[in-house]
Structure formats: C-alpha cells, structure tokens
C-alpha cells in the first residue's frame, strides 16, 4: 500500500493492535510527550508511556463510594481501566506554577516573569467524561476577556487521543451527564478497542497526519457494529445515574433546605472531591519569601472551596460551616456553573464519589434532596 495515504477526517479506520506502537513512535518523533494510563507503585496514574505495553492491559478498577481497587484480571484489553484519582487537569492546570520571582536590587523589586512553557503533550486514552472536563476548563481558562497563559500554553499544543468507554465503573454516571460513554467532544483521534483491533475515528488534520503511512484498513460494517453494541452495553452498565431534568432549579431554589445540614454532618471538609475533580479550577496564590527578605517566589496552587481559608475575609469567614462549603461545591457543579458557562460543572466521572473518605455520593445527595422536597 502507498505509504503516504491518510484517512479522511470523519472516517473510521481499523489497525492491528501492535501498530499502535508505530503511532506512539510517530507522536514521539513529532516532538510529543506521550502520556497515558500506567500502573505504577500498584496504582493507576497518568504518566509518560513509551509503548503499548506500558498501558494497563489486564487491569480493571473496582470503584464504589469511598473505595477504589486496582485489580488484575488478565484480560487482553489495553484501554479498559476506568481512571483513578488523577486526571488530565494536572498537565493543563498544574497544581503548582511559578508566576514570577522578585529580587530586591538597590531597594527596588526586580521582576522576573518566566514565560509559561509546557511540553506538547499527547494524551492517550482520554475518556468522554474527561474530554468534556477539558472543554469545561477551557470555558473557565480561555475566556474572551481573560486567557490564562499557563493553561493556554499547554492546551493549544495538546494532542488528544480519546477513547470510547466499554466497561464503566461503579461510580460512573457520564450517560446521565451526556458526556459518555461515547466520546462526544472534539478529539484528534477517537479509539474504540475491540478484542482484536483498535478502531480509530479521525477527528482532525493532526489525527489524520499521525495515521498517514501507517497500515490501516477502513473499518468494516461488522466491526463498527460491534463497537456500537459495546457502547450501548456500556450505557446500560453505568454504575450510577443522576436525573438532571430539574437541575439547576432543584438546587438553586432550595439553598435553605435542611438537607444541606445533614450532608454537613457527614462531610469532613477534606477537599478530596475538589482535588480529584477534573473540572474544579479554583486556585490560590502564595508568596515564598527568602530568609533575608530580598527574594520572593510567587506561585499559583490549587485551592478548594472546602478549605476554611478559601472564604476568609476581614469580618469573618463567609462559609464558616462545613454544610455551607458542601452546598457551595454542589450548587456550583450542578447549579450556578450552568449560569456562568452554559454547562454543568460535572461530567459524571464519579471521582468525587470514589475518593470521598466519607463515601458521600453526589448522585445520592441530589436524589435525596429531590425526595425530601416532594
């Protein structure tokens, strides 16, 4: 076959699984830092990967409220694992970023502003919910009146290989939020894993370019059918669901409901949910002053509406109680976010449920609030 042919945008091709290594090679040759799911120290992380075999083949994650287990079952699929605590957020919106440094020279502060830099990432295995989360953060960081330079630099270079989700976990409810299991957003390539082959849907010129010259075949009706059936099954296997038909009103019209206090009794205000959430964007700024007082490093760090200091203000704390902080979090995700950015701030990824030490479940809390109001 001619080595320079490449598939049309919008078409779906199929490749033998081992060919994926050539695709990774190609990304690397083009200067991408390739990151994907990887088992490290007995847990699942997003880390640099070199080859197909670095992916968590044979693993599944068992996820329930307040519990996460990575289990080896020996299956033969590379993209079956539902993500752990980490998300792509850590690459686009790093938890620590140096904003500028100041040095006192002859009594005046001299400012050194490092130009924001980031590798050209190739994200391998971005699920529908995760792609939706990236697009939600785009709305927050790439506004027409203000563009976040740190986020932009990483985001505009990122190559996204999305993956359709065939085996959702117990805490997943992306089908309710309209973000999965089928990838709905724009990706450069979208992969579907079948037993023998990978299907790749071409979403952009970049994606097309990466496939150019690789041995692919156009996907047959048979394999496309198998993929569709798999996705339909996945929708039915979704561990959880959330009725969004009366949101955001249900929440915004019941901000004084006693149920918030009941959640506050259980929530530890530990902020886990916000740290693992792929859409949470709140941040704080810190100064680290040298001992002699002549140099300071200004950094941006992740913050959380659950941190007591988040809402301190002369005259007291705006949200001194835990229930008021939980209400802020949830009413933002499922209520005011929609007013601010036109979408919910929740994709149904389930991380906040899995990683809550108190096993608080956003889907259950919404349902309970609704029940108590009726």
């Amino acid at each position: 076959m001619p080595s320079d042919r490449s598939p049309e945008i919008g078409s779906t091709v199929s490749i033998q699984k081992h060919i994926f290594n050539a695709l990774l090679e190609k990304l690397k040759t083009q200067g991408y830092e390739v990151v994907g799911p990887h088992v490290e120290n007995e847990t699942l992380v997003y880390a640099p990967i070199q080859k197909l075999e670095d992916l968590p083949r044979g693993y599944v994650t068992e996820q329930e409220a307040g519990s996460f287990r990575l289990v080896y079952t020996g299956h033969t699929r590379y993209f079956d694992v539902i993500p752990g605590a980490q998300s792509w957020k850590q690459f686009l919106f790093p938890s620590h970023a140096n904003l500028f440094n100041l040095k006192k020279v002859n009594g005046a502060w001299e400012m050194e502003t490092p130009k924001p830099t980031a590798p050209a990432y190739a994200f391998i295995g971005v699920r529908g919910c995760e792609l939706a989360a990236i697009q939600i953060q785009d709305n927050a960081f790439l506004r027409s009146d203000f563009t976040d330079p740190i986020y932009r630099v990483a985001r505009e270079k990122a190559f996204i290989l999305a993956v359709n989700c065939m085996h959702p976990a117990g805490t997943c409810f992306c089908a309710s939020m309209g973000t999965g299991p089928r990838v709905e957003g724009d990706a450069d390539l979208t992969l579907t894993e079948l037993e023998d082959v990978f299907l790749l849907n071409v979403g952009s010129e970049l994606g097309r370019n990466i496939l150019a010259g690789l041995p692919y075949e156009s996907a047959s009706a048979f394999v496309l059918n198998a993929a569709n059936r798999g996705l339909e099954r996945a929708t039915l296997q979704m561990g959880r669901s959330m009725d969004t038909s009366d949101l955001p009103d249900l929440i915004l019209n019941n901000l004084d409901h006693p149920h918030w206090r009941a959640i506050g009794e259980r929530c530890l205000s530990c902020a886990n949910c916000t740290q693992v959430c792929p859409t949470c964007f709140c941040w704080d700024a810190t100064d680290t002053l040298s001992l002699d007082g002549n140099q300071t490093r200004r950094e941006r760090v992740w913050d959380s509406c659950f941190n007591p200091g988040y809402s301190y203000q002369a005259g007291g704390n705006t949200r001194p109680t835990i229930h008021s902080r939980y209400r802020q979090w949830m009413s933002h995700k499922l209520g005011t976010w929609k007013v601010q950015y036109g979408t919910f701030g929740c994709t149904g990824c389930g991380r906040c449920i899995t990683w809550c030490p108190a096993a608080i479940d956003i889907t259950v809390e919404v349902a309970d609030l609704r029940k108590e109001i009726r």
């Binding site: 005046a108 502060w109 976040d148 932009r152 709140c282 802020q328 005011t336």
Partner: protein
Amino acid sequence: MAAHAHTHSPASPSERLLEPVWAQVMDITNEAEGISTYWLKFTDPAVEAAYTFEPGQFNMVYLPGYGEAAISISSNPADPTLVGHTIRFVGNVTRAISRLKVGDVVGVRGPFGSYWPMKEMEGHDVIIACGGIGLPPLRPAIYHIMNNREKFGKVYLLYGARTPKDLLYPTEFEEWERAGIQVQVTVDRADEDWQGQVGVVPMLFYRFRMDAPNSVVLTCGPEIMIRFVVYEGLARRVPAEQIYVSLERNMKCGQGSCGHCQLGPYFICKDGPVFRFDALQPYFNVEEF
C-alpha cells in the same frame, strides 16, 4: 516606551495573570485608629498616563512576600495620577502595609470590577448609606457628584461608625455640605465630646423625607448594615433596580479566574463588587452562601 527596569510590559494585557505594576507611596494620611490612606503614584509614567478608574472600582495591592489585598480606590476619579487607598489593618497583608513609609513601593493591579452607576443616576436624588470602612469606596462617587453637582438632585450621605474616633474623613464633611451634600452622621457609641446622633445607619432614613421613586440608593459596609439599608429603601418603595450594593469577598485574582469571590452565579470581582440589588435578591438572604 521606556519602561523602568523593574516594570513589565505585557504582550497582551488580557493574559497577565498576577504580575503587578509598581507604585510609590507618596503620602500617608492617618484617618483613624488602625486606618490610613495610602496615596500611590505609578513609577512607570506610561502606566500612570494610561490609568483611569470609575468610582467603586478596586485595585489589588501587592506587598512582595506577603501577598495581595483587594482595596477600593477612595480618591477623586478626576485625578487618577494620585490614587488613594484607605486601608484598615486587619490581617497579614494590611498589617504589613501599615509598616510602609512614604517612598516605599508596592505592587498594584487594577482597576477591577463594576462601578457605581454615575451616568444612570443623573437627574435623580442620591442616597449614599454606608458604615465604617464602607465609606472609602463611595468617596470617589461623592467627588464625582461634587465635580458635576448640577447633574444630580438632592444628595444625602448617611454615614455611621462605631465611635466618633472611628469616623473617616471628618474634616471633609464641611466641604461636602458646602457642595450641597446633606451629611448625616451617626455613631454606635458616643464619647463625652460627641454632639451628634447615636444609633445605626438605617435609622438615618427616618431623618429626612425622600422622593422614593426618583431616588437611587448606594450602599456599602458591614453586611448586616447593608441588609437594613436595603430594607429601609424597599420599605419606602425605592425600586430594587435603584438600589446598588457593593460587596466584599475573599479575592485572589480580580479576573473571574481563581473562584474565591463567588456568590451564586456571580464572580464578585468582575460581575461586582457593585450590584444592582435585584440581581442579588435570590441569593442575598441565603445564610453563609
């Protein structure tokens, strides 16, 4: 443009995250116990030439090593070359600011936020109701009214402080009176020399007759005072659309990005700090929201 070595000229202002420009403390006015006004002048003449602000807007004032605090601009908008910040020393940053001397340099970002509706208020009576450190963000509005006195109807300043010693700008009251602003002052607790009124700010609404449909109310101060001022205004049938409130929250960016200042759907730093009351109504009475 010959920028100073220690200033940074951004390629695109809309991408400037937290880098301040520098300003020198030209003067410090002691206003009351624990409150002073810092008069700042930008060290870069180009920054100074470009700088303007509207009454009610604020700056983020930065002290290297300590951090930033949101501070309202309290000076005359007609003269933005000397920018006044009346600061109460309450915490980390503001206490460090209290140790500054004339000639010292601070970082500034701004101006940020919405502002008092000076244009829409023309032709109306104006009631400015504020308490304590709520007066500084309204002083630019007072100056603007004085600069354009004929454009406004009757103007009342209803102002309260804890004690007579806590009153801000008392030496200016006479000048404001002369400019046709009725100044009504009250304190929570009198001292032996106090001849004036004792009580809370909302009580001052009982001391004059207002033409409610034609009045605009501007208010800033402790949240409890704001609540009662709004109540007194609405009770006299000032439409909610003619009541403006300035709010405070923890702020880290001033650009609608860090999330800290949210109140319901609003980012107070960019959708506020000045709100028309009808926009706040659904959230205003929700406790700890």
